[in-house]
Symmetry: C2
Subunit: 344 residues, 2 copies
């Protein structure tokens, strides 16, 4: 009876494939097409492209503009990149054809803190075309920002906010591990940080700006530090094997100052095999306020599964949102999409 | 430079007084007036009426219609009652004069599950007058519904939801303790439940309907049980003193069924002096899903402080919401209002 929502996916990496697979499971959604980056995979059956053992009868596309015109999706989910400058072109192409967009690019969680000019360009085009666009993901986009903001809602005053997300890098592939410096010597880690090859977590600035905007704090400056987590013993994952003394991960943290004092501190250590190091993974939010808030999630919400679900669960929210660029704090909270689709 | 928001408070009991006091602390808000129920207090200085030791130069009012016309508030907060039938008249009077409303009446968290006709009447009038109305509070309105819905957003599938809020009744007055059966014999407790005098928590149906609507579950039936929590030792609070064997509180729980199985279970034991009974207070949310979610808050968010803060922190949300009746799940999450006012 009801018409299903036609969803286009950009990206067929680990995240894009997971999102496409979840769209296939939802009766109210229809996987209408997907765009891959690699030209040599164009035309491949989409089922195979996302790792299923069956054909879907849909070809993987590589020309975004042509695909939008032909497929005419109701919404697109972008899972291709982390940075706003990389995300910009495809988002503008989609908005320009009046397709609402959900992006899991980390900087899209609060793009104005990455490149204000691009954020304004996206917002302007979305408004002119009458569609909404939002960035989401487990972090930034949920644990260290939206959840903190929601919890702040029970407070009449707040002195400071401390939050920590400790997660396990063991399931991740080489690209992610390399961005965290896993397997380097401590000296190479420090050089990698200095040269921008070891980036740690992308999204602290986005999370801090979202929180500060929501509660009305003027932030003077943000300090970020990246320290190596040194392996105490031999550690293996499916893609890496490291010895004691090598880098097992990155302890990345950020502090935001107001009136010369740190008022928001976000800490996000990520390492392989925390289990071998006596490290308990988890999410924790402490609000030093009236009343004080202390929230703990054990273990942490897994990043991959959480981001996949959020991208899909935000579909009804972006379809019923007013035109323009939104953050997760501007829209009603996501909810698991377990029944029929309910727009609005 | 900026114009402050003129807030009217309905009710000068414990909650109304707390809300009025918080409005006074916020530079972006102005306490424009308050309505009391007791005619013999009309004309009393509002500062004294809400328990301050100073005059505010504002008189406590008792005629709502006249007060609205004279004060012309930008928003009103209702803190007078729990039930929709009691809340209805004042809400309609406010909406009829185009005043947006925030209510902490428990049944206003999801009024359609209390009396659908009244919910429709409120929604219709709010839309015609172009203003928004929302029910909020720590529970229902936040812990056992909005927070659960938000956490469901990281899940792709959910089998069942279990949540528990264990709180301490020791700070509460006689009215609340009596509604929980505190001080009764176990036999008198059971009779009180049967006769509707011992009500336990008001809001399970609201919370369950909010969750079910958000995730798209059709609920077949809701079962509620109220069991006495028996004092194991002598317990005292400022207003009551009970002996071992008497009722120290009410273990109220609700289960919602779908396909014959319980899919949402909310448990809310409330008692005096949990500390003397080895009971740790706290909030806990368990989602049996993909991924599983286990969130714990220790101790519980205090009900009075939390509801006071939520009522005030929802002011910007209700002012920027589209006209009509909303639940907390329809609007962006509340945030602590720590800086200047930001509408939208």
């Amino acid at each position: 009876m009801s018409t299903s929502i036609r969803v286009m996916i950009l990206g067929t990496g680990r995240m894009g494939s997971g999102i496409a697979g979840l769209v296939l499971e939802k009766p109210s959604l229809e996987l209408a097409g997907a765009i891959g980056r690699r030209k040599d995979r164009a035309g491949m059956d989409l089922g195979r492209a996302i790792g299923l053992d069956r054909d879907l009868g849909l070809a993987l596309e590589c020309d975004l503009d042509a695909a939008i015109d032909r497929i005419q999706p109701d919404v697109a989910i972008q899972a291709t990149c982390s940075r706003l400058v990389e995300a910009r072109g495809d988002i503008l192409a989609l908005l320009g054809r009046s397709v609402p967009v959900i992006s899991i690019a980390e900087e899209m969680a609060h793009p104005a803190s990455a490149v204000p000019g691009i954020a304004a360009e996206i917002d302007d085009l979305a408004r002119r075309r009458g569609v909404a666009v939002v960035g989401t993901g487990i972090n930034p986009g949920f644990v260290l920002d939206l959840l903190i903001i929601a919890m702040s809602g029970v407070c009449s005053e707040i002195e400071s906010i401390n939050a920590r997300r400790v997660n396990d890098l063991s399931p991740y592939g080489r690209t992610v591990l390399s961005a965290q410096g896993v397997g380097l010597t401590p000296e190479a880690f420090e050089a990698g940080v200095a040269e921008g090859r070891v980036v740690g977590h992308i999204g602290f600035v986005q999370s801090i700006r979202m929180i500060a905007e929501a509660v009305g704090w003027q932030i003077e400056r943000i300090e970020e530090t990246r320290r190596p987590i040194i392996a105490q013993r031999h550690c293996e994952t499916p893609v890496v094997s490291i010895s004691p003394g090598q880098v097992a991960g990155c302890l990345h943290s950020a502090r935001a100052f107001r009136g010369g004092k740190p008022v928001i501190e976000l800490v996000h250590p990520q390492q392989i095999r925390p289990d071998l190091h006596g490290v308990e993974t988890g999410d924790e939010i402490i609000i030093n306020g009236t009343p004080p808030v202390h929230l703990t999630g054990r273990p942490e919400i897994p990043g991959g599964q959480g981001t996949t679900a959020l991208a899909v669960n935000m579909i009804p929210r972006v379809l019923s949102a007013p035109p323009g660029l939104h953050t997760m704090a501007d829209l009603p909270v996501p909810a698991a999409m377990l029944g029929g689709f309910c727009n609005g």
